[in-house]
Amino acid sequence: MTKTILETKNLTKIFGNKFVAVQNLNLKIEAGTIFGFLGPNGAGKTTSIRMILGLIKPNEGEVYIDGTSIKENRNKVLQKVGALVEGPAFYDYLSARDNMKVFGAYSGNITEKRIDEVLEIVGLYNRRNDKAKNYSYGMKQRLGIAQALLNKPELIILDEPTNGLDPYGIQEIRVLIKQLSRDLGVTVLLSSHILSEVEMICDKVAIINRGQLVVTGDTKTLLNSEKKIYEVAGSDKTGLNDILKSEKNITLIDSKENESDSICFYINDGTPEDILVSIVNKGARLKSYSPKKITLEDFFFQVTREDE
């Protein structure tokens, strides 16, 4: 049985006695998995991550990392964690190497060899003696990932790690995350707005909205079990849209998001064939009518919109 590396129980945070940023968050992340943590802006993702890392004190609830409560034994717990949260931060006037030395000293017993190793992993070894202020944003992002890897953590939390990276960089990070999980058994908690990336690499996802956990589970299972999406195209998109709006058994997916001629919808009740007959009888002139593979992005919109 796989051990639980991270568990949150009823985690709640209220700011200023009024604003509930996170409410009763219950997460369970198994060791060795890549876990996607998603949500719209302002949903409470960063607040949750900060509570997990002990940067913010929760009003209620507990965080357990590898079975140990962060409240009771913060130092022991943080030895197993590495994180990149809300963007990288460095001492601008120091070189990459010196920055790693500083963070390494605070992580405890990080050797020069390990510093060189992590810089090599993120592709900054050749620029290790350059001052951090001369780095591009993408390079700073890589250096941020490097500092998270310094202490060989069991759990690594990455908040938008591919921000500012070019396509090659994004691919490298994707490969790195997979390697960490597969080869080293590191658990990765990944928060990202690039849902296609999350869908590609995460074993499980959790979606949070307005401070509450909306759904959590295995990525593939969630996407397969959801309602089917159908895509229909016609010669007159506006007319077709009006006809579809009048259908009671379907929910239209906002056509503003769909720039092509096709319109997508979920079937709430009935069969696809019944819907097809109904819209044709109402005068729709169709070019195509077919099921659409549901992506994480579709799922995300559906789940967060339903929640509103």
Binding site: L55, N75, L78, A83, A89
Partner: protein
């Protein structure tokens, strides 16, 4: 002192430390040369050392240098955003603060030593060798001992300004604001001392900013020196306690 080496690394590689060294050397030259252009009969190289160290205290220049460096080491953690990355590590807040204090204190010692050495060399060049003179040009015995007391006493007392500035840095979380507010606060307090009697000021660090009055008599006033250092450390410890309490209580922004 696990983090002392990296704190010293941060200080040594900063432009602020280079400016402090430059400022120190320039100020020594300016003080001694200005003095040379005045009435300088009977002034020796040893006198010039006490002259510059005394001026560094009297015009709170050493305080200004330490305010600058403390804001670099403490306030900049919030400016750069590196504080949250330190707090994600198994770091004890108490250890973190202590290591920062010690690193800054070592830096203060270096600055004062640099001041003394440069003053001695410039003084020897301009005034030649001689004895130490006190008030009304009386010769004072044990110049080396007096220098050691003056140096160590001043050095220990810089701890207070480090602790005060750290507290203000933690409150304001911005290096410029820290420099301006701390500097201004010290000026205001020094101004207010005109209206307070010495008997009250004896229980504050104000009367021990410079230890010269207790060293420059025929006999060294040991009780005042030791008492002064103790009082200054008590006030410093109070600000340290406030700093630690504030950091422990608040969320990491």
């Amino acid at each position: 002192m696990k983090y002392l080496s990296v704190e010293l690394l941060k200080i040594s590689k900063s432009i602020e430390s280079k400016i402090s060294y430059l400022f120190t050397i320039v100020m020594v030259f300016i003080i001694i040369i200005s003095f040379k252009m005045g009435d300088t009969s009977g002034v020796s190289n040893i006198d010039s050392v006490f002259l510059t160290l005394g001026n560094f205290n009297r015009y709170i220049m050493i305080y200004f240098v330490m305010i600058l460096m403390t804001s670099l080491v403490v306030a900049n953690e919030f400016n750069y955003g590196t504080y949250r990355y330190l707090m994600m590590r198994p770091v004890s807040l108490k250890q973190l603060l202590i290591n920062k204090y010690i690193a800054l204190w070592i830096f203060a010692g270096i600055i004062l030593l640099l001041t003394s050495i440069v003053s001695f060399l410039v003084g020897t060049t301009l005034f030649g060798t001689g004895v130490l003179h006190g008030e009304n040009q009386i010769e004072l015995s044990q110049p080396l001992l007096r220098f050691i007391i003056f140096y160590i006493g001043t050095w220990i007392n810089t701890f207070f300004i480090i602790q005060l500035t750290t507290y203000i840095s933690i409150l304001l979380k911005n290096n410029i604001n820290t420099i301006v507010v701390t500097f201004s606060a010290i000026f205001v307090v020094l101004f207010l001392t005109r209206f307070v009697s010495d008997s009250i000021l004896d229980f504050t660090p104000i009367n021990y900013i410079t230890l010269k009055p207790y060293i420059f008599n025929a006999s060294i006033d040991w009780s005042h020196i030791i008492f002064g250092i103790l009082i200054t450390q008590i006030y410093g410890a109070f600000f340290s306690f406030l700093s630690l309490a504030k950091l422990k209580r608040e969320d990491v922004g």
